[in-house]
Amino acid sequence: MSNAVQVTNLSKQFNTVSVLRDLSFTIPAGKMSAIVGRSGSGKSTLLSLLSGLDSPSSGSVSIDGVELAGLSESELAKIRRDRIGIVFQGFHLIPSLDALANVLLPVAFEEKTKQAGHIDLAKRLLEEVELGHRLNHRPAQLSGGEQQRVAIARSLIHRPRVLLADEPTGNLDESTGKTVLSLLRKISQEYGTTLVVVTHDTEIAQQAEQRLHLSNGEISDETN
């Protein structure tokens, strides 16, 4: 089985505080992995490094075989556009755009000839997250759960190899959280996407094929 993510000797320091210390692990392709740990354990910092949205103090991250270290800004953007999907705890939708336009945001600069196909896919994704009837609603007109579902659809529009989700249910009530998570699993399986969920919720972690526990800046594989 190939690895979707490979992390080698990864460290991150903020001034004198060492948040992540010499982490090395792999995440298998096509599976769901959970990175668990208490608040402040460095889970989100790890996700920021996996997504290339922050730079490590040392060590390396490889996504789908591509080493992130040493890539230019544009190359990093291209990796995020082509191979990585990100779902944030705070949804991070663009408030001026409706649900459909938010989903299409990652492909806004693609050729016009591809746009029709993207629109069809975006509609299909929104239907899969049960928002087919809310295509033209802006984020302010959607509930938290609906916004997170739009964010999931957005993260999948370019069929990424790896989907990184940072506390995807953290801002949702329990019932909505469960729905969102099951959608996330279902769709990532359907699209053959590796799902990496960062969470402090052990119940969510139990659903993952791989469980990585982060504590005091160090990681351990707790998969049974």
């Binding site: 949205l53 944030f88 663009i94 001026s96 299409l104 945001l105």
Partner: protein
Amino acid sequence: MSRLHYLKQELYYRFGRSTVTLVSVSLVVFMAVTLTAISNASSDALRLPLENVGADIVVQLSGDIPKKLEGLVFPHPTAQLPADAVERIRNLPGVIRTTGAVFLWDLSPNKFQSLLGVDSKGTSGIPGLNSQLISGKPLDPKVLPVEALVDGDFASKNKLKAGYQIELQGKSYRISGTVDTPKSGNIMRADIYLPLAEAQLLASNAPWIIDLYPFTKTDVNLLFLEVDQRHLGTVTSSVEKMLGEKAIVSSEISIQEELEDLMFLSDQMSVIFTAVVALLASAISERSRDLAVLQAVGWTRPQIISQLSLETAILSGVGGLLGLLFSWLGIALIGDVELAMELSWEISPSPHFLPETDFDRTRMLVAPIQMPMLTSALAWFLAVLTAVSTAVLAGFKMVRPYPWRWLAEE
């Protein structure tokens, strides 16, 4: 979804921010264009008094009050201009031509009239005067006995016309014709005009003039200068320096100094301009989280900056056009610039200090305001350029290589 769709939605959704930017840019363009138009018209109006005498600079020297205000005197307190000073002024770099004149008041207990002796050359001399002839014959300095021209208003007030006689210091002159001295901005209006040599002769024999000055038949008390515009400032200051504290040098610059408050708003343009740039930069800074989201979904820095630039270019372009439209409406509404200016004593043709004189020293200088086309185009272009540059710079500052800090949850 295309980037244009995003742009349209962003401008519409952020209606307040878009409106503020639009209004700010239009205000800057409106002020730049309108103030330039008013400033240009004001300059034209201020130039009128000097244009009417065909001179760029009028030179006089302040003198003493005659012991008795009777007969022919220099307009109080104009003094004789020394011949050597006139010669030195003539030789100043930038001086194209000098035209001498003698300006006199003829005072008696029941009568006042002003008299100007003018040179036979130059636009400030007899040729300029004859161009304003409304009846009779032009003034010919070669005709003997010497003739005089009279001002149209003075002629009608005193029931004079061509062919009549007028008396000055016991000497009679035939009126050759009447002239229509411009009523607005005319600094050299006199009641009676004579050839310079005749006025010099009268002045050199006037008891209350020779009591104060060694005035001869070749001297003057008024000098008109035609100057290369590039040297206007240096010639003005050179003459002032040469003649000292008593110099009375009237030029576009000296008159403009009296109206410097008009330019107050022009001086504030840079402040307004800076405020708009700060506003644009702040509008982009507010979007730091959105810009980070765009990066997170794979937009490159050039793509984000081009999006911001396009948005700003459209807003500033439309705002600039609105500013031009408002300027055009404003200018059409105002029409003319009217500057009420109180003439200082030295350029007043009448002895305003005499109680019996009801001369109104306030002159209305009127010039039409026109849309400055070049400034309009430049103001619009600079507004768009500045706005786009601000967007690019703010974009570079906001779109950092690693935007996680904007996306992380508190």
